[in-house]
Symmetry: C2
Subunit: 764 residues, 2 copies
């Protein structure tokens, strides 16, 4: 699919992509990037950090939760795969770039002709309500999506406000026009995923209800209010619940037709219209985490009219505001698309999770009011602590504080007395390992972006790091490492716990809580306990202290690691790279190790063990699509060959980010991959969040102007920049030469100009 | 079981049952009355109109909802059957006297010895947690229940406040003491009734959670907070969900032991203790319709201590206050027990349905705040409009207004634009026929007990009576009757709709809404359309106007009626008895018809068609246990033989109400049977609620002193009263002879004395 030429690129070829005063940046974003293969992004409409992600589903498969990897379903983490020929409908909630999934709530599909309530198959779309479509008739922009549904001769257009999806369907003349609301549809659907659904037809233009599911989020309910621009002629529903729902005295009614209150587990609704040629039927579809009343208030508050263009424009202005925080000149049009699409993906989440009145459903399943902050959900923290939240400390400082307040609210509501691990929609889903909330909190405290109760936040970090039944914390505290027999990811856990502990220590030091500092600095050294000095690799170790004998440094599965083999994961000591290098045999041997990582060929049998990655998604044995390696290319900075960092990061930027639907080699992971792109393009990267340092790389842009929330402006400028001149010869901060290999957070937030002098040869 | 001598009766034989200044009336109540066979009352603890009904379950069977009558389950509408040998546990919600069921939420069972999480069987209680018990070790009083659990050697005691159940378990010395919380248990349980359950162990004494079910109430959730007086040593849980709940990454944990947050469909919890001899473990178990936070606040607000006796005493004082509204002298001790037990049963419901802060879950599944009224639920209106709500207009006028406000709130929240038919826990369950809310509202308006928005209430009545998809209102409006082909209860529907329409007309007249009055007075004559003058019976009629040919006046099933055959139901024109009598051939023939009703023998094949009735529950073909006949004995007042009313009602009182567990011949039906008893004992009865008249009968008490909420006192006095002197010779109101066969509501509410002069022979 590399040959696909995206219309926006064609367009860009004739526009002034290089000009700096361009404020309409939305046009550089291509939401289709990452929608093919492993990116797991969605192409639909949303506003920055919006609650509604209104996007097409190209297939909705059932997941058999038999413990096996379910590849076909896995493809549909975001609902859409670019090479699919049909669209099933448009639903209102999507994750961006995740490697597991949920959501896809409230699928809407407009159809014409014979009413069909099943979705049909890709091979036989005519047997269901789905429709063939073609990319020629598809437009994807920030907060706008348009497609022609060939089988129904309908133009579908989507836009949103924060909490409301706005559909606009242009129908042909038809006596049989339908709009289907399918509550059985969902992403990562299981046969028994719908716990309960409830729908009321309040009047001939207003529908309310909810969908309660148990999936990745174990106990999740989303409420809605749906308003039509035109009264329907009639309506009906179907309940395919198995076992059938006990109907009791509701059995008196024929609930299938024009009956206004239906509940069950497998509900589908249809609404019939008669349409004239090119008649537009519009739908406002509001969500709420709290109630149908909340959803209705969200709708009335955010979109009290029927002007589709106004909603679209408002949302695109919001995007321009966010994208405009960094104005870049790039070397190529594709780079610019990549950059702004990365910005777009980075600012999709965490997502807003409260009604206009501040109410939201909490982890305790009670309703809460967010007092003094905006509540967010969708915390993919194992991914996003690395670069996304650090990026927010620069570009979204206020939002990052709100996110941390949301995490503390989660902690307050948690019976586990824990900060989130991976949380969405009032649920902890326990995905991945570590307790990386503490990194996000420590990073904000260290960087002074901490307008929240910092001591309480530290207490929450400490409590989280001591929750003995989570992960293998109990054993980790007792032994100083996670024993092999406790977990198949024992080494990864140990390494990440140790880093998290160091974060807690850093925050404690800043808050002068020296007892906490001492305890956690000690714990932060635990990575050494899984380091096998004989081999130079971290390695699983049993409870008695014996390193595992059978051990393959290229293998992941069951080898003590997760999403990364020993070759990669042994490099995961971001908080003490110097000691790590010593442990690995010193600088020279370490450089050899790093070099081999990027240059070796990973045999197929090990490649098969990498998760969510295409062959293009790895470079040698370096797996950019999986997060544990994200800091690795920067580690040359701790050797005497930092030019290799510059070389590698420019290569990774080129190889791993293409302005095409299949341009992402791995899951975007809620913006982490994109945040890496943004930092790296700008020439620096937060190797160890929780410190105030950013390792220098090699900027890929020509010039970037960063408007900071504090009113200052930071300019990243380059001299002699080109695709070949990837080696930094000199760096100046406000004209003064920088004599180290990192920038500090203060240097960034004070604004001014950082100038990179580039050259075609390494500055050794 | 008629030989059972209840301790309270023995006790009463030696006490001054006849004294009038007795204020401890609780001792005359025997909550065991009605717990054997068909009464469907429960023996456990509750306060007047309380939200919590904490009562033992003697069996919990699964209902197969295959459309067939499920007798064994039906017995357990209230969870308890007096002749059962075992107790399964104690749950917190029960209906009183219903003929269909639901509830039984949150079963608690204390055990000793080996932990068992299944309940076992009646035959083999040792194979589960249930226990044998004996009535010798059982005490049932208002707001107090005590029983010894033989198999575990535990004394269980129960009491309540409005929203909190208080358990006190006296254990033997045991290293293996357990308290089981079974969320899979319920009344009228179906295999798939539990929609979702969620439990958090907040700390070592506090548990919270909820149970969401779909049964009679289609979408119902009850929240709880449970507090132990002593920390448990350890705890655990089991989830028997089928299909198994997708566990996702929660599968990392062993959720079966000491894991504090569990969700699924079939959850059971246990809490382990070590106990010393006679150690009491207490539990406060609070409910909420809104949230676990609401439940916790209810607990903290209502019972901020651990004094069981205080809670018991407070509740019994509330009962004495309510019971003391009528102080009676009776002819026998048994009559006194019957009277106060009837008062007790009449004041169990409708039940409180809001948190201490006024919040409750509404019919739209949103949370609402009751502003300016107390919100109630459990409206069994087909039963209770007849005598219970009229009784409330005298004895509970404020509460009756609140109940009507609750019904109007239901209307406001109803997508059907209807007042309740049979509603409980934020659900319309559509049980039975008619729209009798309008009778309750009209009765209150007519009687001037209407401190609510009367015009809005009337609008709600009109909207309800015009909801075309409910029942057969559409056809009824078109044809003037419900056609046979539309419903198997077409005649019952027509008759009841016509009565309800008359109620609306009466209220409209009072409010000077003459357009409404005209419309509904016209509709109120529709009963004539199903009256077959040739036979003198009401009879099913098809849409073309043809009366059904095959028709048996003694049969109920499929004959156009429900809970009553033509012989009974033809008498259902309470609002126009005079016309009815004419239609039936005049007074003489009418009296013959009535006489035959009470004296004929109903052949077995027709008896089998009566619902929920024992053979003792019928008198001839008069079925007192079913409501349609409740006014019938009073109809002699419309003839020249009113003395037959006097004779019959005294006979019914004697035959249908015994102070024994099997003393009720039919379902108490949320107090309607009891309200009939109270009115009839006092000598008058509201034949047509919606009028201000009460038909005179024959008082069965010696004297009654009724303390009205308006500060006045009404005395019902009798002269020459005895079991044989059932015939009224003369009635005086405040010394003035009454020259008619009814009392007016004004006469009652003005207080004073009504004196009945009794004799052994009819006054002809």
């Amino acid at each position: 699919m590399k040959n696909i030429i995206i219309p926006v690129l064609l367009f860009l070829a004739f526009t002034s992509f290089a000009q700096t005063k361009d404020t309409d940046l939305v046009k550089y974003v291509n939401p289709l990037i990452g929608t093919h293969k492993m990116g797991h992004t969605y192409p639909g409409a949303t506003v920055p950090f919006g609650m509604v992600q209104l996007s097409p589903e190209t297939d909705t498969l059932l997941y058999e939760h038999n413990g096996k990897y379910n590849g076909p379903v896995y493809k549909y983490c975001a609902g859409y795969q670019y090479d699919d020929p049909t669209i099933v409908g448009f639903s209102h909630t999507h994750f961006s770039g995740t490697g597991h999934s949920d959501l896809g709530d409230f699928l809407i599909m407009p159809t014409t002709g014979k009413l069909q309530l099943n979705s049909g198959t890709e091979d036989h779309p005519e047997k269901g309500y789905r429709s063939a479509f073609s990319h020629e008739n598809e437009v994807a922009e920030p907060n706008y999506y348009r497609v022609k549904l060939d089988d129904h001769n309908i133009i579908a257009e989507l836009t949103t406000s924060s909490r409301v999806g706005f559909h606009q369907y242009t129908f042909p003349q038809s006596e049989q026009a339908h709009i289907i609301l399918d509550l059985t549809s969902g992403i990562y659907n299981y046969a028994d995923k719908n716990v309960w659904t409830f729908v009321r037809v309040e009047n001939d233009t207003l529908i309310t209800g909810y969908r309660q599911t148990s999936g990745w989020a174990r106990t999740r309910t989303v409420y809605f209010a749906m308003s039509f621009s035109k009264p329907f002629v009639q309506y009906g529903s179907q309940d395919n619940s198995k076992p059938q729902v006990y109907r009791g005295f509701w059995g008196k009614f024929d609930q299938r037709k024009n009956f206004p209150e239906v509940a069950g587990r497998q509900l589908k609704f249809y609404f019939d219209f008669k349409t004239s040629e090119n008649e537009k039927i519009k739908i406002k579809f509001a969500l709420s985490p709290v109630s149908t009343e909340g959803a209705l208030q969200n709708m009335l508050s955010e979109i009290p009219h029927w002007d589709f263009e106004e909603v679209k424009t408002n949302g695109q202005q919001l995007w321009n505001k966010e994208l405009g925080k960094v104005v870049v000149n790039t070397l190529t049009p594709g780079d610019k698309v990549n950059f702004y699409t990365a910005m777009y993906h980075a600012f999709l989440g965490p997502t807003l999770y409260m009604d206009v009145n501040g109410e939201y459903r909490g982890l305790d399943q009670n309703n809460h009011k967010a007092n003094g902050f905006t509540n967010y959900t969708t915390f993919s923290l194992w991914d996003t602590y690395r670069a996304l939240h650090p990026l927010f400390n620069i570009l979204q400082p206020k939002r990052n504080q709100d996110m941390i307040q949301s995490m503390i609210a989660h902690y307050d509501q948690s019976v586990h007395h824990m900060l989130p691990v991976w949380s969405h929609y009032a649920n902890e889903n326990w995905c991945m390992i570590g307790y990386h909330s503490v990194s996000v909190i420590a990073d904000a405290i260290i960087k002074g972006n901490a307008n929240f109760d910092v001591n309480k936040a530290l207490d929450a970090c400490v409590a989280t790091a001591n929750q003995k039944y989570y992960g293998a914390i109990d054993e980790y505290i007792q032994l100083g490492y996670v024993p092999d027999e406790k977990s198949g990811s024992s080494v990864s856990m140990t390494l990440e716990y140790a880093y998290d502990d160091w974060c807690i220590a850093q925050a404690a030091k800043k808050l002068n809580r020296m007892d906490v500092y001492d305890t956690f600095m000690k714990r932060s050294q635990n990575w050494k306990n899984v380091f096998d000095a004989n081999t130079g690799y971290t390695r699983p170790r049993d409870g008695k202290g014996v390193f595992r004998k059978e051990f393959d440094v290229l293998s992941t599965h069951g080898q003590g690691f997760i999403e990364g083999n020993a070759w990669n994961y042994s490099l995961y000591v971001p908080h003490d790279a110097e000691s790590m290098i010593k442990m690995m045999g010193g600088t020279k041997r370490f450089v050899t190790h790093l070099d081999s990582l990027f240059t070796m060929y990973l045999p197929d049998k090990f490649f098969a063990e990498t998760e969510d990655i295409t062959r293009e998604g790895i470079i040698g044995n370096y797996v950019h699509g999986n997060e544990p390696a994200h800091h690795v290319a920067y580690l040359y900075n701790w050797t005497n060959e930092p030019w290799k960092t510059q070389e590698r990061v420019r290569m990774i930027l080129k190889k791993q980010y293409q302005p095409t639907p299949d341009g992402l080699g791995g899951n975007d992971d809620c913006g982490q991959m994109s945040a890496w792109y943004i930092f790296t393009s700008l020439g620096f990267y937060p190797v160890a969040p929780g410190s105030n340092e950013y390792a220098l790389g090699s900027p890929a842009i020509q010039k970037a102007t960063i408007a900071l929330e504090n009113g200052k402006t930071l300019i990243i400028d380059t001299k002699n920049q080109s695709d070949k001149n990837v080696y930094v010869q000199k760096v100046e901060v406000n004209g003064q030469p920088l004599k180290r290999l990192h920038l500090t957070h203060e240097e960034i937030m004070n604004g001014g100009t950082v100038t990179f002098y580039m050259g075609s040869r390494p500055k050794k």
